[in-house]
């Protein structure tokens, strides 16, 4: 399966200085957002989320997502203020086996004495460039009704 993630976006995901926010929903649809350092993009274009806490809201919500086939989101903001949104679906929860154990060692080598509960394998389905200036210009051109009149009035109030 071709990934929606380009090599450029993959590099941003793997850049430690990029801020990443994982957004999940619980079984009732209640959203939860968490800033995380534990996201990585693999060579196959799939995203790996390393969950150190078995009891975290994100871990529970990802379980609900894989069970009920629901999307999760990852928002990125780079130091250069580039912004992306990635819609993804959990494909697999690695909790045991040789691949899990390799991740366990690598995770602890990087982050120290943390446990590793689950490696969530996420299949990206869409990537949206969320550059604000581009979005603003696009709306101004495509949706001219979406503005307040005072902003374009000849004698605008101060």
């Amino acid at each position: 399966m071709t990934s929606a993630v380009t090599s450029g976006v993959a590099a941003l995901i793997n850049d430690r200085d990029t801020t990443k926010v994982l957004v999940t929903t619980d079984a009732s649809g209640v959203p939860h957002a968490a800033v995380t350092d534990f996201v990585q993009c693999g060579e196959d274009g799939r995203i790996l989320y390393f969950e150190p806490l078995e009891s975290s809201v994100a871990n529970r919500n990802l379980t609900a997502s894989i069970w009920f086939d629901r999307q999760v989101s990852i928002a990125l903001r780079t130091p250069a203020d580039e912004r992306f949104h990635i819609g993804a679906r959990p494909l697999r929860a690695l909790v045991a086996g040789p691949a899990f154990q390799r991740h366990y060692d690598a995770f602890r080598a990087r982050f120290g004495d943390l446990d590793l509960a689950t490696v969530w394998v996420l299949q990206p389905e869409r990537v949206d460039d969320q550059d604000f200036e581009q979005a603003r210009r696009r709306q101004a051109e495509d949706r001219p009704f979406f503005q307040h009149l005072d902003r374009i009035a000849r004698h605008a109030s101060p």
């Binding site: 619980d26 079984a27 078995e54 871990n59 529970r60 379980t63 609900a64 894989i66 069970w67 009920f68 494909l91 697999r92 929860a93 690695l94 909790v95 045991a96 086996g97 040789p98 899990f100 154990q101 366990y104 060692d105 602890r108 590793l116 689950t118």
Partner: protein
């Protein structure tokens, strides 16, 4: 034999689809696990061609037996689904309408009635399986593994069986123990503490592999008080395990007889044990007397239940549970006549236990040939989904955790798989 030649022997697909469509709030992966446990599996020759004894865990020494009275140690132990759910499952005869595990494009899938359902992984063999203790015993005969748990079986003999018809009617522990003696010839009747300590030390070298221990065995009635000798066996085992830990307590479970408060206090105070399970098997006193005559005679239903509740004072809420063999409450001829009646009675009694801090967890009943109930039939998939949902709902209602017996620490209880959402 490949799947293509055998697809007509698995007619349960319609029942599965109709049942899960009636439970949209229940995860289909857990419904699939239940149904695979109900019907068993058949590994096609193509699937078996990729089984590697160097990598995969084959069927190990165990405490309970097979579905077809034949132990095939060359077959894979069990399966993992893509959400991390374990399916603890035995190979099943073809006339039992099993699911197929087949090889498709180099990967293993569950297949039923021509429909490719889900990719599965085989359990991987822990490294200690290839090692020997200094006394020369293969470590895989001292301890066995689930994907993230170390199992220790202290005895394949249950003293309730000493009296005719004293053993639980769904259980084949003694018959299976005799059967596997010829295959696992070097297996000690009860592993020595030194061998246990050494095996655990070796197992813990494998980083990220294990999260808990489960120690169990047949009931031992001997001692100054009933079960005193059994308690001593657990204490010496747990102390041997504990030599390997820097903390006084470590994640662990025993599935044992119903001990009194003095015995439970000894276990808690003298070992690193952190949870306690004693199985009522069926949540109805009349059926308990019929199905578990040995337990009924020596302890009795109400006293067994009372000991569970008193154990909460020692181990704490969320660290004591009881197992039931889901479905035996419908066994013929004395069981409940309808699934609705069986479910209502079971959940009613489970609620009484939950109110008192005791969790109830269920297995899927597999009528084993070596048991008195060997020719009976387990109830419907719908029954098990309702049972799992009902037991989970009680844990939600009474805020009971079941961390020590969940999808990772055990993997054999559909209701505690749902605890991943708690």
């Amino acid at each position: 034999m490949g799947f293509a030649q055998l697809k007509d022997v698995a007619p349960g697909r319609r029942e599965f689809n109709e049942t899960v469509s009636g439970h949209p709030d229940f995860p289909q992966l857990i419904a699939l696990k239940i149904d695979v446990q109900r019907r068993g599996v058949h590994y096609t020759d193509q699937a078996l061609s990729m089984v590697d004894a160097e990598i995969h865990q084959l069927r190990s020494a165990n405490i309970f037996g097979t579905r077809d009275a034949v132990l095939r140690p060359q077959l894979p132990d069990s399966l993992l689904l893509r959400d991390g759910t374990s399916i603890v499952v035995d190979p099943s005869p073809l006339d039992h309408d099993p699911y197929f595990v087949d090889l498709i494009d180099g990967r293993l899938f569950l297949v039923d009635a021509g429909e490719v359902l889900e990719e599965v992984d085989l359990w991987h063999k822990p490294r200690f399986y290839d090692k020997f203790t200094r006394s020369g015993i293969p470590m895989n005969l001292v301890a066995q593994a689930r994907p993230q748990r170390i199992n220790l079986f202290l005895s394949s003999y249950c003293h309730f069986w000493a009296k005719d018809d004293g053993g639980c009617k769904f259980c084949d522990i003694v018959n299976f123990g005799k059967q596997q003696k010829s295959i696992f010839a070097g297996k000690p009747n009860r592993p020595r503490p030194a061998d246990i300590a050494e095996t655990v030390r070796e197992a813990l070298r494998e980083r990220g592999r294990f999260t808990t221990f489960c120690i169990t065995g047949g009931s031992v009635l001997k001692g100054g008080e009933l079960f005193d000798v059994e308690v001593s066996h657990y204490i010496e085992t747990l102390q041997a395990i504990g030599e390997n830990f820097s903390t006084r307590k470590f994640p662990s479970q025993i599935v044992a007889s119903a001990f009194n408060e003095r015995q439970l206090s000894r276990l808690y105070e003298e070992t690193g044990l952190s949870s306690y399970t004693t199985d009522l098997e069926v949540l109805d006193e009349r059926l308990f007397q019929w199905i578990c005559p040995g337990k009924a005679e020596h302890v009795g239903y109400k006293e067994w239940r009372s000991r569970l509740i008193r154990a909460v004072d020692i181990f704490g809420r969320g660290y004591v549970n009881t197992g039931i063999v889901g479905g035996i409450e419908l066994a013929r001829p004395h069981g409940f006549r309808t699934e609705a009646e069986g479910l209502a009675r079971t959940l009613d009694e489970a609620e009484f236990l939950a109110e008192n801090g005791v969790s109830t967890i269920h297995t899927v009943w597999v009528p084993r040939p070596g048991s008195t109930f060997g020719d009976q039939t387990a109830p419907s998939l719908d029954y098990y989904i309702r049972l799992a949902k009902g037991l989970h709902a009680l844990r939600v209602k009474y805020r009971l955790r079941v961390d020590f017996d969940d999808y990772r620490r055990c993997g054999n209880h559909p209701d505690t798989d749902l605890a991943r959402l708690l």
